[in-house]
Amino acid sequence: MNFVYGAYSVIWLIIFGYMMILGRRQTKLKKELEFLKHLDR
C-alpha cells in the first residue's frame, strides 16, 4: 500500500509543480506588463 501512496503523491507533486511553474511564469509576465504600462504613460 505504501507504494500506491508514494506513486500517487509523486504524480500530484509533479502535476502541481508544473502548474506552479506556469503560475510563476504568469505572475512574472504580469509584473513585466504592469511595469511596461507604467513606463508607457
Partner: protein, 253 residues
C-alpha cells in the same frame, strides 16, 4: 530581432478582444478536469476491485497507463503542429507544438517515476531494461533535446523552424527505438519479468476498465487544460515582447 517583431505588430491590438471572449473555455475545461479527476480517484480507490495476484499495488496502473497515453497524445500533437508550422508558417502552430511538447515531458516524467515504483513493488527491482520503460526514457531524452532547441538564442522563426524539424524527426524515431529495444531484449533476455505495466491484455475486469477509462479521460482533460493555459501564457509572452519592442522604438524616436 527587431525586424521580425515589427512584422507582426498588427496582431498586437487585434488580439485584445479575443482574450475577453475566450475566458469561458478555460473555466469549463478546469471544472471538467477537477470533476473527472475526483471521479477517477473515487473509482480507483473505492469502486474498483483489488487485483488478485498483484494486490493493492495494481492501483498505480490506472494513472500510469493514463499518463503514458497522454504522453503519446502530447507528442503526436507536437508532431502534427510541427508539420503544420513547416507548411503554413503561422506562429500559433509553433506555440501549440512547443507547449504540447513541454506538457508531454511532464507526463513522461510521471510515467518514468511511477514505472520504477510499480517495478519495485511487483518485480522487486527499481528498474528493468524493459522495452516500454527504456523507450520512455529515450523519449524523455529526445523531447528534453527539443526543449533545449527552444532555449536557443535567436529569432523566433529560426528556432521554430529547427524545433519543428526536430519534432518530426523525434516522433518518427520513437517506433523504431521501441522496435529495436524489444528485439534486443527478446533475443538476449528471454525471461520476461512477469507482466509489464501495461501488458494487461485480455484479463481486465469491467470495473477496472471503467476506472481506467475515467482516469484516461481525466488526464486527457488535464492535458487540454494545461495546453490551453500554456498557449495563453505563450501568447501573453509574445505580446509583452512586442510591447517592449514598441516602447523601445518610442524611446528611440
Amino acid at each position: 530581432m527587431s525586424a521580425n517583431l515589427e512584422r507582426e505588430k498588427g496582431a498586437l491590438s487585434s488580439s485584445e478582444p479575443v482574450a475577453e471572449k475566450g475566458i469561458l473555455v478555460p473555466k469549463i475545461l478546469f471544472g471538467a478536469t477537477v470533476i473527472s479527476i475526483l471521479a477517477s480517484i473515487y473509482l480507483i480507490f473505492i469502486y474498483s476491485s483489488i487485483e488478485k495476484t498483484m494486490g493493492v499495488v495494481q492501483k498505480i496502473f490506472y494513472y500510469h497507463v493514463a499518463s503514458a497515453w497522454c504522453t503519446f497524445l502530447a507528442f503526436f500533437v507536437t508532431f502534427i503542429f510541427s508539420i503544420l508550422f513547416l507548411a503554413k508558417r503561422k506562429r500559433i502552430f509553433d506555440t501549440y507544438a512547443y507547449v504540447s511538447a513541454e506538457i508531454g515531458v511532464v507526463f513522461t516524467t510521471i510515467v518514468l517515476t511511477t514505472g520504477p515504483i510499480w517495478a519495485k513493488s511487483s518485480w522487486n527491482t527499481w528498474w528493468a531494461w524493459e522495452p516500454r520503460l527504456t523507450t520512455t526514457l529515450i523519449l524523455w531524452f529526445i523531447y528534453m533535446a527539443y526543449i533545449m532547441i527552444r532555449q536557443m538564442d535567436g529569432v523566433w522563426d529560426k528556432k521554430a523552424r529547427l524545433a519543428s524539424v526536430f519534432g518530426i524527426i523525434g516522433f518518427i524515431d520513437v517506433p523504431i527505438v521501441f522496435f529495436a529495444i524489444r528485439w534486443w531484449q527478446s533475443k538476449f533476455h528471454p525471461i520476461v519479468f512477469g507482466n509489464g505495466p501495461s501488458q494487461k491484455g485480455g484479463g481486465i475486469e469491467p470495473d477496472m476498465l471503467v476506472a481506467l477509462l475515467v482516469s484516461i479521460t481525466a488526464l486527457t482533460l488535464l492535458y487540454s487544460y494545461l495546453l490551453q493555459k500554456g498557449v495563453t501564457l505563450e501568447n501573453m509572452r509574445i505580446k509583452v515582447t512586442q510591447y517592449k519592442e514598441k516602447l523601445r522604438e518610442d524611446l528611440e524616436n
